[in-house]
């Protein structure tokens, strides 16, 4: 083992409240080493990451413990006690950070090249020309055409923005790079590229890497050592292979268990009859101005089945889902529901039958009116139907809330007083209260932690039987889709490239599907490393 570059001793972070976000984290990091920090949402990962660069300073958050920067095997600076000026000199050249939000972490008003160049000049005092040269160099290194240095952030895709941020760090050759969920917002294929890039850079420059993620798979692929955080405490820590292969702490075990796997055995389920078609689309096309979101989709959904839809971001999954429930009028083509063209529903008939088609949305925060009590939101569809008094409304709403695993007390809370998983349960309850025939779930679990995700997925499985639902389950996570679906449709650029039985997903016909599969990080492979 080489000298440590960073030594963290009993780090504690307390937010005003007081909320103890991090309750004693210690580790040492040597050059070229990768430390993985995993844990569920709210476990204190970001609190720790920010503390490593002293970024809590100036806020009302209190940081205790030591973050010691080493040079030549000697601690030279305690970031927690350094002056503002000292802190500024190490931020960038010694310690750099890549944030979770590539969408917003770049300045919208300045050209990306200028942003890299300024950061570089700030610490090196290089000339404009030198800075420009260096900018081109690092952009090229992360795989972005240096000619695009004059573009603004909104002209880049999410993955490219993340690369720009990495390039910015790279320009200064930091000794430690802290990456706080660098791939959460990205597609699997892009995620794989970024992870590969980080690994290459580590090898090239010998920098140490702190990789923060909620996704055990992501961390596992790269880290030498993993720390599992829960409620601000490190519950388990160890070499990656050991920790993933033989977890000791029950929480780590639960966490690993909840991770959906592509090779998990599928539950036995009788396939619904192929001739009982509930919904059928023909040549479904949707254009948004010049953007073609859907380019002629032919799809059938059988009564009682669960159809999974996967694809990368922007492939048209949501648009398809919305068209199926008539939230989106097709530019051309038809959607037939029980043999009837949806477009023919008008006025009164539309209002009357609308509730047979329901949708559960991706973002539980946005799908519940933040200014209305959960109970009222769940009862709202009933209220629209009319004919029930307040007591009946409440009784039905509470009944359904209890069915999805909430309690009557939750009915009297606002959405922000619930956790993400609870909100999603409430949203499911609302979708089901009118006993729909078709429910489209648009990434219902993407925003949730693996453990919560597992709970919600199993809830959906149960409800499907009980309510005799036909489900269209949209997700970008292949493993999740596979675990609930009977059949899976793979989408790309507004078209369905193939539809196969869930069991056959691991044996795809189409190369795109194969590429998708390859990009998914595998826990088993890591554990075997």
């Amino acid at each position: 083992m080489t000298h440590p570059v960073l030594q963290v001793e009993d780090l504690r972070v307390t937010h005003p409240g007081p909320v103890t976000a991090l309750d004693g984290l210690s580790f040492e990091l040597a050059a070229g080493q990768v430390l993985g920090l995993v844990g569920e949402s709210g476990s204190g990962k970001s609190a720790a990451a920010l503390a490593l660069l002293g970024l809590h300073r100036g806020t009302r958050t209190r940081v205790e413990g030591g973050v010691l920067l080493h040079r030549d095997d000697r601690p030279v600076l305690d970031l927690n006690r350094a002056s503002d000026a000292e802190l500024r000199t190490v931020r960038g050249p010694e310690l750099a950070m890549v944030f979770q939000e590539p969408l917003t972490s770049l300045d919208p008003y300045r050209r990306v090249g200028a942003q890299i160049a300024t950061a570089y000049r700030l610490h090196t005092g290089a000339s404009r020309a030198d800075a420009k040269r260096r900018t081109a160099e690092v952009l090229d290194r992360v795989g972005i055409d240096p000619g695009r240095a004059r573009d603004y952030r909104h002209q880049f895709s999410g993955g490219m923005r993340q690369r720009v941020l990495i390039a910015m760090a790279l320009a200064l050759r930091p000794r430690v790079l802290v990456a706080d969920e660098p791939t959460t917002a990205l597609d699997v294929t892009v995620q794989a590229q970024i992870l590969r890039l980080l690994d290459e850079l580590r090898e090239e420059t010998g920098m140490a890497l702190v990789l923060v993620s909620h996704d055990v798979g992501v961390v596992g692929g790269l880290a030498d050592e993993v720390v599992v955080l829960r409620g601000g405490r490190a519950v388990e820590r160890g070499a990656t292979a050991r920790l993933l292969g033989r977890p000791e702490h029950p929480y780590t075990k639960a966490l690993l268990h909840a991770v959906p796997r592509l090779d998990a055995p599928l539950p036995e389920r009788a396939a619904p009859p192929a001739d009982d078609v509930l919904v059928e689309t023909a040549g479904l096309r949707v254009d948004f101005g010049s953007v073609r979101a859907l380019g002629g989709v032919d799809l059938t959904v059988r009564r009682g089945e669960t159809l999974g839809v996967v694809g990368e971001s922007g492939s048209g999954k949501s648009t398809l889902g919305r068209a199926l429930v008539r939230l989106q009028d097709p530019t051309s083509g038809t959607v037939r529901f029980e043999g009837l063209d949806l477009a023919s529903w008008r006025g009164r008939e539309l209002r009357r039958r609308r509730h047979e088609l329901q949708m559960v949305f991706q973002d539980p925060t946005s799908s519940l009116n933040p200014r209305r009590l959960i109970g009222a939101s769940v009862a709202e569809p009933l209220r629209v139907q009319g004919g029930r008094d307040e007591a009946e409304l409440r009784a039905e709403a509470v009944g359904l809330l209890e069915r999805v695993g909430l309690t009557a007390a939750h009915a009297d809370r606002y959405p922000h007083q619930l956790s993400g998983g609870q909100r999603q349960r409430a949203a499911i309850a609302r979708a089901l209260i009118l006993r729909p025939k078709l429910v489209v779930c648009d990434e219902p679990v993407s925003a949730l932690d693996v453990t919560t995700q597992a709970q919600v997925v199993s809830l959906l499985r149960e409800l499907r039987e009980e309510f005799e639902l036909t489900l269209v389950f949209i997700a970008h996570d292949l493993a999740v889709v596979r675990s609930v679906s009977d059949r899976v449709a793979v989408m790309r650029k507004g078209e369905i490239v193939e539809t196969l039985a869930a069991a056959d997903l691991t044996r795809p016909q189409h190369e795109y599907t194969r590429a998708l599969l390859d990009a998914v990080p595998r826990l088993d492979a890591v554990a075997a490393r």
Binding site: D84, R91, G92, M97, F99, D107, Y109, R110, A119, H123
Partner: protein, 328 residues
């Protein structure tokens, strides 16, 4: 860009046409009779009829409006008594009160408002953005509160009270400035500035409050954004972050609003003009409204409307120029 401008131009033309019609209708409904006013104290009925005919107000309103419009785009000939003169497009007719060509009257007064608007805008931006930044550097502290209160106090003072206080202070008590008397910049730039100083201050002091808020809010909001955290993570000094980067986030709104505000002052700052005796559009507007001087009233409405529309368009263009995310 070109398409945007073209569309804007078309829209503006429609808006102005509607505006003119509205003004015409409004003043047609007004009980005052321009002929009676022109005719004077001892005017008899037959005389009144003659004056009405001479002014053209004996025609039905639609006809009058049509004449107004055709005159505007094609010009018109007017009788002065012994002879007739040709008023070429864009002709807004002749004032009932002063018999001057309205176009000329407006052109005479516009420089006053242009002077007023530009100087005042420079001052209020300086003051507003300055105090906004000052407050944003240490939000929630006493200096933030005090700045806020002072600026709000100034901002809630009616302009005419502010003007009076400035006049009393500078010209009566301290006697450091003579009473303002508008001098065109073409005659004497120094005098021009000296005489406009108080009016500028009056508008600027009252208007700065909005910009203080806007700047402060914009800067604070930007400071909460992720990209600022990136700057911190790269060791940018805090001052530099606020003064160079966070300001950038407040800038588009500030500039946009300023452009529209300038349009408003250009269209006539009634109180400032009245209090300081500045011969601008606002004063003319009030006076012509009280004497039912229809051609002048319509002329000013159109000009003011046009100025506001132009200002709004400029504001949009500026916003697009300052925020790379907006495309037009």
């Amino acid at each position: 860009m070109i398409r945007f401008l073209l569309r804007r131009l078309l829209g503006a033309a429609a808006v102005l046409l509607a505006l003119a019609a509205l003004t015409y209708l409004l003043f047609y409904a007004m009980p005052g009779d321009p002929a009676q006013l022109a005719c004077g104290k001892g005017c008899t009925a037959p005389q009144l009829a003659q004056v009405r005919h001479a002014l053209g107000t004996d025609q039905p309103v639609v006809r009058q409006f049509w004449t107004f419009l055709t005159t505007l785009v094609a010009g018109h000939s007017f009788s002065t008594g012994p002879s007739t003169v040709w008023c070429s497009a864009p002709c807004l007719g002749y004032s009932y009160q002063s018999d001057e060509a309205v176009t000329q009257m407006l052109l005479d007064r516009l420089p006053v408002d242009v002077s007023l608007a530009l100087g005042a805008a420079a001052l209020w931006l300086l003051l507003g953005v300055g105090t906004g930044l000052y407050a944003a550097l240490k939000p929630g502290r006493w200096r933030d509160r005090i700045t806020n209160t002072v600026i709000l106090t100034l901002g809630s003072t009616p302009v005419f009270v502010m003007a009076l206080l400035l006049l009393m202070g500078a010209c009566v008590w301290l006697q450091i400035l003579p009473f303002p008397n508008y001098v065109p910049i073409t005659e004497d730039p120094a005098q021009w500035a000296q005489n406009l100083l108080l009016p500028w201050l009056a508008i600027a002091l009252v208007s700065a409050a909005g910009y203080t808020r806007l700047t402060r809010a914009g800067v604070l909001e930007t400071l909460n954004q992720d990209h600022i955290r990136t700057l911190r993570a790269y060791g940018y000094p805090e001052r530099r972050i606020v003064l160079r980067h966070a300001v950038r986030g407040a800038l588009p709104t500030v500039v946009t609003v300023a452009a529209m505000d300038i349009g408003l002052v250009l269209a006539g700052a009634v109180f400032t003009e009245t209090m300081f005796g500045l011969p601008g559009l606002g004063k003319l507007a009030v006076e012509s409204a009280s004497t039912v001087d229809l051609p002048v009233v319509c002329g000013i409405t159109l000009l003011a409307g046009a100025l506001i529309v132009v200002a709004n368009t400029v504001a949009d263009l500026l916003h697009a120029a300052l925020d790379p995310r907006v495309r037009i």
